[in-house]
């Protein structure tokens, strides 16, 4: 393969306890630690491993958003991406528009493989990869737990509800990554220094010919109903009694 394109999203860090804004318009992001979406980190790691195996010559990371996303692109470069593309967008785009942007980038970059996380842990939509594959009229392999590339074909093992499904797709293709595909590497300090010198290009939505369209209105961020804390029973016998009394067993 010549090139792998990896989409990365800036999200609230996995370990942060998300807080709602009092006016229900969203979640608190001020002063909150932001990171690469963990699934995208796995996608990037997989791209790097394919390159290190000599199966790809270049890994390009792309992110869409305000100037802040350059922080995550620098992290991607420090992990080992060869170069980065920042597509400027001040407003958050819906998945279909993200897919349209990625399509425009793919048409310019002509990657053999586009690797994306299976979902972002903020909106939990899980749509972008499949939408990109549809618009690009190319194969998709979602929820990948193993990727093998041979020539112009990728064999992908997918984590599905029943177990593991293996499919074969012709390249170029879109593959979205599941948790167990790999364990991303840690970034070392010298790599962070080196990453500062790697190319990071900026493009506008207009340059890519994408005019975002708001198709959905998301409102009223409210807390989910909470469960009441129950009782602590003293031993297994008391537990079985309690469950029998409630007719649960």
């Amino acid at each position: 393969m010549n090139r792998i394109l990896v989409g990365v999203k800036r999200v609230i860090d996995y370990n942060v306890r998300v807080r709602l804004k009092p006016d229900a318009t969203g979640v608190v992001t001020d002063g909150v630690k932001m990171s690469l979406n963990p699934f995208d980190e796995i996608a990037l790691e997989e791209a790097l491993r394919l390159r290190e195996k000599g199966l790809a010559s270049e890994v390009v990371a792309v992110s869409i958003g305000p100037a802040d996303v350059q922080t995550q692109l620098r992290t991607a470069l420090a992990m080992g991406a060869d170069r980065a593309i920042h597509v400027q967008a001040d407003e958050a785009l819906e998945p279909l528009d993200v897919a349209r942007v990625l399509l425009a980038v793919a048409q310019r970059e002509t990657p053999d493989l586009v690797l994306l996380g299976k979902q972002a842990i903020d909106a939990d939509n899980g749509q972008t990869g499949q939408m990109l594959a549809a618009l690009w009229q190319r194969p998709q392999a979602t929820f990948a737990s193993k990727i093998e590339v041979e020539g112009t074909v990728a064999r992908v093992v997918r984590e599905v509800d029943a177990g593991l499904e293996t499919i074969e797709v012709d390249l170029p293709a879109v593959v979205t990554t599941d948790l167990r595909l790999n364990e991303p590497r840690y970034v070392k300090l010298p790599d962070i220094m080196k990453a500062k010198k790697k190319p990071l290009a900026t493009q506008t939505l207009a340059e890519l010919g994408v005019a975002p369209k708001r198709r959905q209105t998301v409102s009223q961020y409210v807390a989910p109903p909470t469960r009441q804390k129950g009782v602590i029973v003293k031993d297994a016998a008391a537990l079985v009694d309690a469950l029998r009394n409630k007719g649960l067993i």
């Binding site: 979640v27 279909l96 939509n125 194969p139 998709q140 293996t166 797709v169 961020y221 989910p224």
Partner: protein
Amino acid sequence: MGRLLVIAEHDNRRLSGVTAKCVQCASTVPDAEIHVVVVGSGAAAVADEAARLTGVAGVTLVDAPAFANPLAAALAPAVAELAAGASHVFGPSTTFGRDLMPRIAALLDVGQVSDIMAVEAERRFRRPVYAGNAIVTVTVDDAGPVVGTVRIASYTAAPLADAAAPVTTATVAAATPGHTRFIALSAPGGDRPDLQSAARVVSGGRALGSAENFRMIQEIADALGAAVGASRAAVDAGYAPNELQVGQTGKIIAPELYIAIGISGAIQHLTGIKDARTIVAINKDADAPIFEVADYGLVGDLFTILPELKTLLAKA
């Protein structure tokens, strides 16, 4: 009145139980006429099953060898063709639906509402975000069909009706792409109840310590006629296969009884179980977050408790 399509999940022999839950969700959409779409190969029995669900006005069967396996690249163009003029296109938020539905949405040039947990109006829904830490209201402003996936844990199954709805067969013009090929499905399954539809689930976590010890979870599950689940930590450690994972990135379930054994209760795991009717936690750490949501908690060493529990359950 709008025509609402529910895309059936099946294995060409049986209709998956999740489809009845999608139909139940669909029946809460005002003024919707529900049509189940079965795309498969030799799947007539599946269509007949779907026709007996309460609320279904009709079933459309698209039957061709090209649809023998549920490949999104093959199914999406077929469904998109049938969706012309539809008001809604719903599928389950399972790996089948999550793979397929966004591809359909893009072909229809519309957005998608993922994980619908409540229908508020014809084009207004509630869904979880941030691993279920927030619930949002989504209003669809698009003019086209509303494409959505149904959060299965939020719905009961539509009951069987006395009379069956008519089944019609349809053919589609869309060509099946040759660029995606099914190779194999490894589905160990077995005789235990299905995790996603079981009334009782017993799950084990990292504290089990080994795949061998994880068999204790299976024994408790068997004693209760329950399905087996696992935390992400247990799956990552290789104690249990991936299809047993319960949580934000695994399966979201809503059994009558959920027993978490040696699971601390990371937020991502709790996301997968908070619709369970009754939660039981067994853990040696009294401060484990799982106890915050458990109806019954038992603090102690699981290697002492599980053998006791097994003996007690055997004495029916």
